[in-house]
């Protein structure tokens, strides 16, 4: 409890005495961040499938598998943050349906089981059958299990795979919107907290999710190509850049609208929120999220709409832009989650937050949660390499 005594010394003004400790720390920042990456990556994948943007084909499977890898991890920081993680099943067995949080388990399972796993399975079923015949040892056994015993690869069956996969992708788009819009609602519906309570929160969360997911796929596509030593499809990269630019504009516009609206209405909470953004959130909001995560990528991608530099220069710039966007969106989550708890609900003062290095809520643990989806993705890419798919040529 020493850290609380330390924080007590750094309280500015007056806060309710129960408000010294921040209830939600780095793990709750990771939860919307990772969930957003899932939703964004999936929406990028569906652009290819549903909206037939063929130039994005090289990233279609990568985006889907990325969504899966990150979704497997998405709920874990949340559960591990609970005071009683082993009671988390109660959310599924006895949900209190009036609670925004109660629906999380169902939305999560729907998205994982019905949307992502099914879509990937239909997409890979043909390959799984072929690979289970071609491979040896344990890999052969895994592929066999993954086919779930459905080994019919007649053209008729494959046509059905395609059709069902398409239907699931179509269902998947509103599901992805639901998944992340809903996460925004968890914050946006808290009327006690003026920093969170805005009807725009679900929309802002959704758009920033798309921004981050698209940036993640851009980043991963380049990294995976470099590791595999294959040529990056620049047309595809440019197209991703174009979408990233479009969604960034929307995201930036809506987030700005939210702030302009707050400033113009200047309600009871205005003074304390003004002090919050110009004080404790200066770096994370204006520099990290605003300048680095939004303005620089926007200007760069906007410039690319007018003039495309040579490939040699474009590649590292795209890489840098994707990193900046991922960095910026992380701090968008930070500003929401941490920012919303720094000021007192008495609107008369601030507590403070210092990210510890060790412990379940510390930096190192957060890093572990953040690295985990990349490890899972590496495994999935090894097991289900999109570049070794047969169906590309045959179907």
């Amino acid at each position: 409890m020493e850290h609380l005594y330390e924080i007590l010394k750094h309280v500015d003004g007056f806060i309710y005495p129960n408000e010294i400790e921040l209830q939600w720390g780095i793990l709750i920042i990771l939860y919307p961040y990772i969930t957003g990456l899932v939703a964004g990556a999936f929406i990028l994948a569906s652009l290819e499938r549903v909206f037939k943007i063929k130039v994005l084909r090289p990233t279609y499977h990568l985006a889907l598998l990325t969504a899966l890898a990150f979704l497997i991890v998405a709920g874990l920081p949340l559960v591990s943050h609970l005071g009683h993680p082993f009671r988390s099943y109660e959310i599924l067995t006895t949900p209190q349906l009036g609670s925004a949080m109660a629906i999380f388990g169902f939305v999560y399972l729907w998205y994982l089981m019905v949307v992502l796993l099914l879509e990937i399975w239909f997409d890979y079923r043909y390959d799984l059958v072929i690979w289970s015949n071609e491979s040896k040892g344990i890999k052969r056994r895994i592929y066999k299990i993954l086919t779930l015993g459905v080994t019919d690869i007649s053209p008729k069956a494959l046509a059905w795979d395609k059709k069902l996969g398409y239907i699931i992708t179509v269902i998947g788009i509103p599901s992805a919107f639901l998944l992340h819009g809903y996460v925004g609602f968890i914050f946006g519906s808290i009327k006690a907290n003026p920093w969170w309570s805005t009807v725009l929160m679900p929309v802002i969360f959704l758009l920033s999710a798309m921004v981050s997911g698209i940036a993640l796929v851009m980043f991963l596509y380049m990294v995976v190509s470099w590791i595999r030593k294959v040529k990056i499809d620049m047309a595809c990269l440019d197209e991703i850049g174009k979408f990233l630019f479009m969604v960034l504009i929307l995201d930036f516009t809506l987030e700005s609208l939210d702030q302009v609206h707050r400033i113009y209405e200047a309600e009871e909470s205005f003074e304390i929120l003004h002090m919050l953004v110009t004080g404790k959130l200066t770096y994370t909001l204006f520099i990290f999220q605003g300048l680095m995560g939004t303005i620089i990528p926007l200007l760069t991608l906007g410039f690319f709409r007018m003039y495309l530099p040579k490939e040699k220069l474009r590649k590292p710039i795209y890489f840098l832009v994707s990193c900046l966007v991922l960095f910026g969106v992380f701090f968008m989550r930070w500003n929401v989650v941490i920012g919303g708890q720094l000021f007192s609900k008495s609107f008369l003062g601030f507590t403070s937050f210092k990210l510890g290095m060790v412990g379940l809520e510390g930096f190192w643990m957060a890093l572990v949660w953040m690295i985990m989806p990349f490890l899972i993705l590496s495994f999935i890419l090894w097991l289900l390499p999109p570049w070794k798919k047969h169906s590309e040529e045959t179907v």
Binding site: F14, I15, Q96, K345
Partner: protein, 256 residues
């Protein structure tokens, strides 16, 4: 058959009309303080006990006995980060600046550091759970571990709480904390274990000036009703429509 049905519907119509007329009549009789009653929402059963609390700021001397008694009675952790009940000291200076303090929740009492000639006004505000009729904290609990008792008291089942802290975020009054030992949400129970045995809540019991009262909002002859009728009472943050059942007499506009 047709006649019977028509009769039945006529009877229903008469019944409903009578009920409506009765309600209007009863509501108009409540006119002097109906705003408060409606602000607190409606009790599920008007024939049963439905608790509310009254705090008279004009009587509070800031001794902090209530906050101290609450900690002892309910085994609230002694560290200065956990309170089911606390007292705030508001000091408004002549220049208009507001200074609010609550050192150790007011348990050790207060000192006034502002010189008398600079003082515009100063007063104490005891705080505790508002036992809202439309409580945001019970609304957000994902598993229903926090709930409103039939007597209108917001409670937490610590055997069922998962410790997500969503309710702590949702309480506009800062009345909840995560218990460092049980790792579950904790808050004022209005000393449920005492009042169900006919005893007063600890904070009410020890208040030397009688600044705190509690009682049945359905009891039109009760002490709380008398308090509400005789004073101009106000709830905290009425704009949030939480249906707070903690009524303050003499609540200054500066208090949040």
């Amino acid at each position: 058959m047709g006649t019977k049905r028509m009769n039945a519907s006529r009877r229903n119509f008469l019944k409903k009309s009578a009920a409506l007329a009765g309600t209007i009549l009863a509501t108009s009789a409540l006119a002097p303080f109906n705003a408060i009653i409606f602000a607190a929402g409606e009790p599920e059963d008007k024939t049963k006990i439905w608790y509310g609390i009254g705090i008279d700021i004009e009587k509070c001397i800031g001794c902090g006995m209530c906050a101290k008694a609450c900690k002892s009675e309910n085994n609230v952790p002694k560290e200065p980060f956990y309170y089911r009940s606390w007292v705030e000291q508001y000091t408004i200076k002549n220049d208009g600046s507001i200074n609010v303090v609550s050192p150790n929740g007011g348990i050790d009492g207060f000192t006034q550091t502002v010189p008398e000639e600079e003082l515009f006004k100063t007063f104490f505000v005891p705080k505790m759970c508002n036992h809202c009729a439309k409580s945001p904290c019970t609304q957000v609990c994902p598993v229903g571990a926090t709930f409103e008792s039939p007597e209108g008291i917001t409670l937490v089942d610590k055997e069922y709480c998962i410790g997500c802290a969503y309710c702590i975020q949702a309480c506009p009054y800062g009345c909840r904390y995560l218990h460092p030992v049980t790792k579950t949400a904790d808050k004022c129970t209005l000393c449920y274990h005492r009042i169900t045995k006919g005893l007063k809540p600890a904070c009410v019991e020890v208040c030397p000036t009688g600044a705190r009262i509690y009682g049945d909002l359905n009891d039109k002859e009760g002490e709380l009703h008398k308090f509400l009728k005789e004073h101009n009472c106000q709830v905290l943050k009425p704009n949030l429509n939480t249906g707070s059942k903690l009524f303050y007499n003499g609540l200054s506009a500066e208090v949040r």
